[in-house]
């Protein structure tokens, strides 16, 4: 039997899926690696640990699951998290750790640029909002704050390119990941001179740009032998996690959008045109030259509910956080829509879209004497979803959206999915397979292998699992609360900065 292996190099773990040629998952394995936070704004990972973890997990999946089933691996496709940056010297040896998307060290650099005309020019050329997550801002930060490392750097790579370089010897980057670096011109598909100049580097310091279907890099013989893979196994460079999740969510049709909520979250649509947002809030990342994934990312996803669970969940009997979360959800379901007047701003980690304010902070508003723990639980969930709604509304200014597909951790909780349907007043579906990134990588590989005519046809094969219809009355109530939510954010912008300064004084 032939199989397609999708390797997802995520923020916290590598997840590897094996599919048969019909798209059924026939194997799965994952391995976790840590993120190090040396300072409040630092977020780094060990590149060699990511590499070794990937090798271990792949080897285990092959030996424990695929080879006993007599599977032959036809191709391996890669997904990578966006906005990661690794510096390597002339020998390809890492100079320090991978700087992840969550690293905020460049926030001052980003604020300065965002306010300028240059920032607008770069945003319009690259599609990446000006933010410390962007590789361009990270490189500029390194140039100003770590000149020694900047000087020694021969190449700037995302973690996926580093892994591929070790496996194949080729130093390449796909258009999709490249368009999230803030350094690639999404119109010309070349490294953008203005962005390069701002970062202070030349195009030679970056990997070679290739399409997401690129499959000319060959696995080194030693890895072929160690993994017992065929010499002709195809290595497909693949795409970014966000673009593949959108592809795997089956939202290709006009009027559809997808919501992903894992640790962080995103609201995305796919189309053939770039969305021009004069507020520079919406990202436009290439999947292919003709297909652009647009939307907004939020820091305020599942990690916020995990925070609430850890701090206020009951752990006397339950050992696992999942068990405690389940109990909290059941408690929240006892409260009516709107949490009896309690609102939550979920900005515990600052926020990206739509407000793009790294200083934003969390807030419970409207607390009265009758509120109990269960109100706070529901308000926390609703706050996370109001935030998602505010991103969706920004996008709806540019494109009509009739229905939503939800994936990630919240998709498996019907209580949350129903709230999404009610807040948005749109039907919400969940997909039948568990992981949209893996499914996206499968669809991309299958298209490259000629099983589908194009990505649109591939994405249309995605089957929906469950549909949640909106309740008009509940939507009307949520509208009233959302008005207060929006108004609050607008009014306390200055206070976010003030409280952030006070917190940083400690």
């Amino acid at each position: 039997m032939n199989s397609i292996v999708a390797i997802e190099l995520g923020t916290n773990a590598v997840r590897i899926f094996a599919f048969d040629l019909m798209g059924n998952i026939i194997g799965f394995a994952k391995g976790h690696y840590p993120t190090f936070h040396e300072g409040p704004d630092n977020s780094e990972q060990d590149p060699e640990q990511v590499f070794i973890t990937m090798l271990y997990v792949l080897k285990n999946l092959l030996n424990d699951t695929l080879y006993p089933q007599k599977c032959v691996v036809g191709c391996i496709c890669f997904s990578g998290s966006m906005h990661s940056l690794l510096t390597v010297d002339k020998d390809g040896v890492p100079l320090g750790n991978v700087i992840t998307w969550a690293d905020n060290r460049g926030k001052e650099t980003a604020v300065e640029l965002k306010e300028s005309e240059l920032g607008r020019t770069i945003y319009e050329a690259t599609g990446t909002p000006i933010h410390p997550m962007s590789s361009m801002v990270k490189i500029a930060w390194l140039r100003n704050n770590d000149p020694d490392r900047f000087k020694k750097t021969s190449k700037y790579l995302p973690v996926k390119s580093y892994i591929l370089q070790q496996l194949t010897g080729s130093c390449i980057i796909d258009y999709s990941i490249a368009s999230a670096t803030g350094l690639m011109n999404i119109h010309s598909l070349t490294w953008d001179d203005t962005a390069l100049e701002f970062a202070g580097i030349s195009a030679g310091k970056l990997p070679q740009l290739v399409p997401v279907f690129y499959s000319e890099a060959k696995l080194k013989k030693e890895y072929q032998k160690a993994l017992r893979l065929q010499p002709d196994v195809k290595i497909i460079i693949g795409s970014s996690d966000g673009c593949l999740a959108t592809l795997g969510a089956g939202v290709w049709e006009e009027g559809k959008a997808t919501i992903t909520i894992e640790d962080s979250g995103a609201f995305r649509v796919i189309g053939d045109k770039i969305i021009k947002d004069h507020n520079k809030q919406i990202f436009n990342y290439l999947l292919t030259k003709e297909h652009i994934v647009s939307g907004g990312p939020t820091n305020s996803g599942g990690v916020i509910f995990e925070w609430f669970t850890k701090r206020f969940g009951d752990f006397k009997k339950a050992f696992d956080i999942d068990h405690s979360m389940g109990n909290l959800i059941r408690e929240a379901a006892e409260v009516t829509v709107g949490s009896d007047g309690l609102l939550f701003l979920p900005y515990l980690l600052g926020e990206r879209a739509p407000i793009w304010n790294a200083n934003a902070k969390g807030c419970y508003f409207g607390i009265n004497i009758r509120h109990e723990r269960k109100h706070f639980i529901r308000a926390t969930i609703e706050g996370i979803l109001y935030e998602m709604y505010s991103i969706g509304k920004t996008l709806e200014n540019h494109r009509a959206i009739d229905s939503l597909s939800v994936n990630g951790s919240f998709a498996s909780i019907p209580f949350c999915t129903q709230i999404i349907a009610d807040i948005f007043n749109k039907p919400v579906s969940t997909v039948s397979h568990g992981d949209t990134i893996g499914a996206g990588a499968f669809l991309l590989s299958a298209t490259e292998m000629g099983m589908y005519k194009n990505l649109r046809e591939a994405s249309n094969t995605i089957k929906m699992h469950q549909i949640f219809l909106p309740n008009a009355n509940d939507h009307a109530i949520y509208r009233q609360y959302f008005t207060v939510f929006e108004s609050l954010i607008e009014k306390i912008g200055g206070e976010f900065d003030a409280i952030s300064n006070l917190q940083n004084l400690k």
């Binding site: 060699e48 070794i52 997990v57 390809g92």
Partner: protein, 295 residues
Amino acid sequence: MNQLLLQQETSKELADFPHIKEFAYKKNTTIQLNSFNVGLMDGIGIYYVLEGKHNWVIGSTEHTLYPGDIAVILPGENFGGKNNILNIGSLMWVRLDVHSRKQLIGDWSQLTKKERHSLEQILSVNKDLLVLNIKEAQPLFFELKHELQHAEVGFSTRVAQLLDHLFIIICRQLIRQNHSRRDFPTTFLRLEQTLRQNLARQWTVEEMAAFAGMGTTAFTEKVKNYSGFSPLNYLINLRITEAIKLLKRGEVNVTDIALAIGFYSSQHFSTTFKKLTGYTPSEFRKNNLTFNQQQ
């Protein structure tokens, strides 16, 4: 209350307890220079603060202790007052003889061998974190004092029980303080950092589990669920990760790398490395350092 200083060989109260080198209750009303010099701990010392604010050097770190705090000083650790002075306040302590640096709890203990081993591991892998707030230690110290002074029937057993009790509450508090059961990822990250700092050590699953404050079965299951690896495979993962970095630096020879990261021999390292990567360590180094030519 009267102060007390019982010392082995000079105090008849300790005649039946050769493992207790010293037991003391001290009230310090004035600060005197050179009254508490920093020196190496002989045996294991457990110090409990009753009153006052105390600045002590333990190991290579300075700590400030307040009433209710307990400090455990392991054999060979530096210990004494900052600037060699004992601050105003009152303290109780007990110093115990040890068989070796690994066997911290002697045969006087009534704990099972397995329990003793487990407590010793918890203390040794957490040696940088052995200042804790344990208010319930106070009655134990006072009862210990009473038993040693009054030698009532059964006092010998009672003293052993109290010392065992003291070790148990210290280890339990250490686990509770360092590892929240609701946040395994944080515990795991701490373990990962400790492993990375001590890769040459021959870690056992029992030692890793003790660090996380769990039994080996629960720990193994938790690690597998969380990381996708068994604890020992995770450790090998870290060792190979470090090996790759050292190989790429190209300065250290392969045998030295093998020993530095905890493999028994360069052959053991080479076999494990090749199994995963397809390269011997030397081939990997050669391949990597010709990166430029391949481009």
